[in-house]
């Protein structure tokens, strides 16, 4: 593998191709359109399926159909488009077929804007449609991590026959960074549960309807049991400057990336601060966070490009006594390291971990 300068959206698209993507369905929306454009050429070159759908509603249902046939399939969109996919995602989850969805989040609510945002946190982690389930949600903070998590997304989708969302924003999608692209993987064989025509076997039916409460409760229990396994096994996070940290900064994706610079500056100023960056948003990396908190963290600074959605998950882990400061930017605004640093210093000063002259 050689290091190349790659744009986030294109890197994710190419990573999907090399992870064995066989069928892509999508609809143009900023800031993810380069992903669709790249696949419109690559998939055709490789003799694989590419369809530009008439809407995100149609795109996710095409994914649903393709997923039922056992191929590796995905779509990509941005916040308003992902809102339109909620129905389809719920059906896919209930039908227990695998798929990958990329959400390059943008400022909302409504048409909002195309600037980077993390305001889909609730939309993607809580349920993604009606009913009772969580999709697996992966949040890269660099182009390289976006590539690696794209491969992981397809593997997790297959392993758990579940919906996997890869969430970024315009910064991750539009930024060019040096990254290594893994080699092309062979297409994996179709799983035996797939809908392929009942040749030499009894017929297969994939449905999400369970008419009686008993049947549907049993189906729900099966999904919940699988989610419990995912929650136990698949929590992922990254740490920086964590040794001896009394203040813990927590941010995912772009927020975590920006916060890393702020934490570095604070460390250089002598403040015992570390960064905790969740990579899986669901399952939230609660086990590792709890261990860190038990290891002497006295206060937390949550950095998010939303009004504090992940903060609720943090609060559930750390309990009500832990002081948490929220550094929140809204509607497409991106935090600056200097501004986050100010919040870190203020928290450190309250704890007596920094003097009054610490701010540069």
């Amino acid at each position: 593998m050689t290091v190349q300068l790659l744009k986030g959206n294109v890197a994710i698209a190419e990573a999907a191709v090399r992870a064995g993507l066989e069928a892509y369905f999508g609809y143009p929306i900023t800031p993810q359109t380069e992903l669709l454009e790249h696949l419109s050429a690559r998939m055709v070159e490789l003799g694989r399926v590419f369809v530009q759908a008439e809407s995100e509603v149609a795109a996710i249902n095409m994914v649903y159909g393709a997923a039922c046939t056992g191929v590796r399939t995905m779509t990509s969109s941005s916040s308003p488009g992902v809102s339109l996919m909620q129905e389809g995602l719920s059906y896919i989850a209930a039908s227990e077929v695998p798929c990958v969805v990329v959400d390059m989040m943008r400022g909302g609510p409504g048409l909002g804007n195309i600037q980077p945002s993390q305001a889909d946190y609730f939309q993607v982690t809580r349920s993604a449609g009606h009913g009772d389930y969580h999709p697996i949600v992966l949040a890269p903070a660099s182009v390289q991590e976006a590539i690696d998590l794209t491969f992981l997304a397809f593997d997790l989708a297959d392993q758990y026959r579940h919906v996997v969302l890869l969430v970024g924003d315009g910064l991750i999608g539009q930024m060019m960074e040096p990254a290594e692209m893994p080699e092309m993987r062979p297409i994996r064989p179709r799983p035996d549960w797939a809908i392929t025509g009942a040749k030499g076997r009894s017929k297969h039916v994939i449905t999400s309807i369970n008419l009686t409460a008993e049947e549907n409760e049993a189906a729900n229990r099966r999904i919940q049991a699988r989610l419990a396994v995912i929650r136990a096994r698949e929590q992922r996070s990254v740490e920086h400057y964590i040794e001896g940290a009394k203040v813990l900064v927590i941010g995912f994706g772009t927020s975590g990336r920006v916060a890393q610079s702020a934490v570095k500056m604070a460390r250089e100023a002598g403040i015992p601060v570390g960064l905790f960056r969740p990579v899986t948003l669901w399952p939230f990396p609660e086990d590792r966070l709890r261990a860190l908190v038990d290891d002497g963290v006295e206060a937390i600074v949550v950095v998010e490009m939303n009004a504090g959605q992940m903060l609720e998950d943090v609060r559930l882990v750390v309990g009500r006594e832990m002081p948490i400061a929220l550094h929140s930017r809204l509607g497409g605004a991106v935090p600056l390291p200097e501004d986050i640093l100010e919040d870190i210093v203020a928290v450190a000063q309250k704890l007596g971990l920094a003097g009054p002259e610490t701010v540069r």
């Binding site: 393709a66 399939t73 040749k199 999400s208």
Partner: protein, 262 residues
């Protein structure tokens, strides 16, 4: 071989192999059962049972996959053509068909059916038009007739308030990409035989890769119309056929050549 033995061996009619030998949940007098049987007979005659995939709708036919002995999936309301697109593109040598009612195809799924036709998607759609929402208990459908009383148009459908019934076959026929688009009816034996022939052609169009094919079947819903089964069939003939004329609305020359070879 005696004459008697010869007679015993000549099967003139039997339960189609592609139709499961179970009772359906459909109401007495409902024509879904006829439509299912015609499809099953066509699947048998074309020998495609092991390669056919059904995309069932939301509506009374939600359990069609229980009755047809082929692989099946259950789509979200109106999304069957999108789901069928994903299936057919992933398995281009299989026969993929949607079975959709009027609420599914002509209201909530209008965009999906129109764009599936426009893409010339190589799928077959069986469109059951009974001018009412059956499963939810008899509300006004996009195809309910002017003045038709339903549980959500209790004074009769007033086009000034509730809009006009939509003729989907005429609409789809106008789209480049559709290859075979016809309307048939299930109200008497003669029309049922014509309907079967059309269903067979629609599947053969897909086998030949000629484009999108749709057969609209005017159907009866005695329960929600509040009519006896015979009166419901009469209502189809007297009220639906005049608004939804039977006939061939799009038959590409290549499809005619198929029919001629039949």
């Amino acid at each position: 071989m005696t004459l008697h033995e010869d007679l015993v061996r000549t099967v003139v009619y039997q339960h189609p192999q592609a139709l499961e030998a179970i009772s359906t949940h459909y109401c007495p007098g409902c024509t879904h059962g006829i439509a299912h049987r015609l499809i099953a007979e066509v699947i048998d005659e074309l020998g495609i049972q092991e390669q056919t995939i059904l995309v069932a709708p939301v509506g009374c036919a939600v359990f069609a996959y229980d009755y047809l002995a082929v692989d099946g999936v259950e789509a979200a309301h109106g999304r069957a053509p999108a789901m069928a697109t994903g299936i057919k593109r992933s398995l281009p040598d299989r026969i993929v068909f949607t079975y959709q009612g009027d609420g599914d195809l002509a209201a909530i799924g209008t965009a999906e059916i129109i764009h599936a036709a426009a893409r010339g998607e190589h799928i077959t759609t069986i469109f059951i038009n009974n001018a009412i929402y059956g499963m939810t208990g008899g509300q006004m459908a996009p195809t309910s007739l002017p003045d038709q009383r339903t549980t959500s148009s209790p004074f009769g459908r007033n086009p000034a308030i509730a809009g006009n019934p939509i003729r989907m076959t005429e609409l789809i026929a106008a789209i480049e990409g559709s290859a075979y688009v016809v309307r048939r009816s299930l109200h008497n034996v003669r029309e049922i035989r014509k309907a079967k022939k059309a269903i067979k052609t629609a599947f053969r169009v897909q086998q030949a890769g000629l484009g999108f094919a749709m057969v609209e079947l005017l159907s009866a819903c005695p329960t929600n119309w509040g009519l006896s089964a015979p009166d419901a069939l009469k209502w189809v003939e007297e009220h639906m056929v005049p608004y939804y004329p039977l006939g061939d609305y799009k038959v590409l020359d290549a499809v005619k050549a198929l029919e001629d070879r039949e």
